[in-house]
Symmetry: C2
């Protein structure tokens, strides 16, 4: 269930913050996978969308998106090559790269595309997932230019910016600036000028010094979740997505079971959350155990368990998982169901 008013406020607020900071906003659509939400983000001023896979790009291109960044170091086979060329017929396409071989292969794949494909070099700013060290951006950028690409710039994902300590976010934002800045210099040294300097993420968004970063790619901010609440990047009034569950069992005093589990909420559990989800109606309660269709809630001493059949809203730990588990979102305004939106890119992994 999506509270559409909260969602729209989240969209507007991030767009305004990006505008004030002078950042281009390119939200990551993997967090919602919905055409209706992408339309609202673009309507609020986003310059385009970020996606994680070719299949996600295809869904949003069919939905009308004309500016798509696949923020992933693709390893392109013949099938993906054809799909990328087809995407380039209707959209400005930007693709990530973090290796010389990968970008050379990508170059052969998109040769003759309807529209030149942009490459941005992925830089590791401390998350240690994909991405080259800043100095190595030169080699990848050079290979991309040699392969005929428009080398648009650099990007990073500051996953290490998650944490309860606000300094973690500030430090990660500093590391983003530094790594991206060094990578821009490395590109300059091989004659490439970076017009795109792109950073994360809901926690670090907009925490950069003026001029250091010029694009941001937050995803989760649309809905927020129990992890964002735990690390303090949102308040409970900013939570827009809930799983709606029913009490099916009250096996003991102080304990009850809801008919929602990992097949709806997902099993993501960051180190900062205290359980498997957050229950706004039961402050102090802990969702201690999650099976596929059972959520066991333990209440604080003295709190009465709800009766069988009670409907309870659960905020998931990480919204990207539940969105990808269901076929549609139920859209609610106030007390009314006003629409149902298909999760158009659900399962679009390839």
């Amino acid at each position: 269930m999506v509270d559409v008013e909260v969602m729209e406020r989240n969209i507007t607020r991030m767009a305004a913050a990006a505008g004030t900071g002078g950042f281009a906003l390119r939200p990551h659509a993997k967090a919602h996978k919905c055409l209706e939400i992408a339309d609202r983000q673009i309507g609020a001023g986003a310059v385009g969308l970020t996606v994680a896979t070719v299949a996600e790009a295809e869904v949003f291109a069919r939905g009308g998106a004309t500016d798509l960044f696949i923020a992933y170091p693709l390893w392109v086979d013949d099938g993906k090559a054809r799909r990328l060329r087809r995407l380039a017929e209707t959209a400005v396409l930007r693709v990530g790269a973090d290796s010389v071989e990968g970008v050379q292969r990508l170059g052969r794949a998109v040769r003759g595309a309807a529209r030149p494909v942009e490459v941005v070099v992925e830089v590791d700013s401390g998350h240690h997932r994909t991405g080259v060290l800043p100095a190595d951006a030169a080699a990848v950028g050079k290979a991309a230019a040699d392969a005929g690409f428009d080398v648009a710039g650099v990007f990073t994902f500051p996953g290490h910016g998650y944490g309860c300590d606000p300094h973690a976010r500030e430090n990660a934002a500093r590391e983003e600036e530094l790594a991206l800045g060094e990578a821009v210099e490395a590109l300059k040294a091989v004659g490439l000028s970076a017009r795109v300097v792109s950073g994360g993420s809901t926690p670090t968004a907009g925490r950069w010094r003026p001029g250091a970063v010029n694009e941001l790619r937050p995803g989760v901010y649309v809905f927020n979740d129990a992890t964002q609440l735990a690390i303090g990047t949102c308040t409970s009034t900013d939570l827009a997505l809930y799983a709606i569950a029913t009490v099916v069992s009250v096996p003991a005093t102080g304990r009850f079971v809801l008919d929602v589990g990992s097949k709806v909420l997902g099993s993501d559990r960051s180190p900062w959350v205290t359980g498997h989800g957050y229950l706004p109606a039961f402050p102090g309660a802990s969702l201690t155990s999650l099976s596929e269709h059972h959520a066991t809630v333990v209440l604080p001493e003295g709190m009465k368990a709800p009766s069988l059949g009670t409907v309870v809203a659960v905020v998931p730990n990480h919204v990207c998982a539940p969105v990808n588990l269901v076929d549609e979102l139920v859209i609610v305004q106030g007390d009314q169901v006003v629409d149902r939106w298909a999760v158009a890119a659900r399962g679009a992994n390839t």
Copy 2:
């Protein structure tokens, strides 16, 4: 990807073990959600299927299943009541119950169904999820009989039988026997005779003393997974389901990144596994970190990282999650893709 020969051997072996032990086999279909696999289980001698939700029951009933056990304490609203009555037109239907109110409500819901619905009382044998204490089976059974149900017996799920210590499985199997036995006696005291005495689960399956349990409901055994491997209920030659991934980044010596993540593997991580999945081709490697589309693998000292583009099979921690994330399974025999099976009950949560 499913190795169909391994899967069929797993099915045959469990059916043979059930036959030898004198147990009726009623496999839990939530682990595969595939009509083709249910057909093979029934063909090998299963008496019927176990499911977790009304929606799963509907999918398998449409696929031809005629004997379905919804092993869940349903709280039935008008919509579910209609759906249950429709199911009873084509299938023998058995439903779990663990409360007097729940079973009374269920009774009103299925009044006038085409075929009498069976109730089995859920008993807590130590997992402390749903289920009544054994002695309280009398009250639920009595309420079910008063509501007009055929009270078929009792069931339990021994989720606490998971663990690396083989004693954990043996102890859980003893606790199942004890709890179910006490519940059977409790029913007898109110004039109800239990013909169904139904236990778990892939770890405890068949570990009961003769006569203590007469039905088993394992699910994961069809494919097995990294958790079953870790706790020793299967060997690596019994693993039938793999995610097929490609190396997209080799950011440092001894570390590489695969293009598979939590949106394919799921995020389940039992206490007994060492990472987010098992890589048969890289013994000693650890899948240390999982994002939605990235799996970071750290190699043991001295082991060489595979080159970019290498295809790598990953065994998920818990098969029930990945099966529910994808729309189809690719069926492989030897080196050949021989079929694609729809995950017909994917997302069937309600």
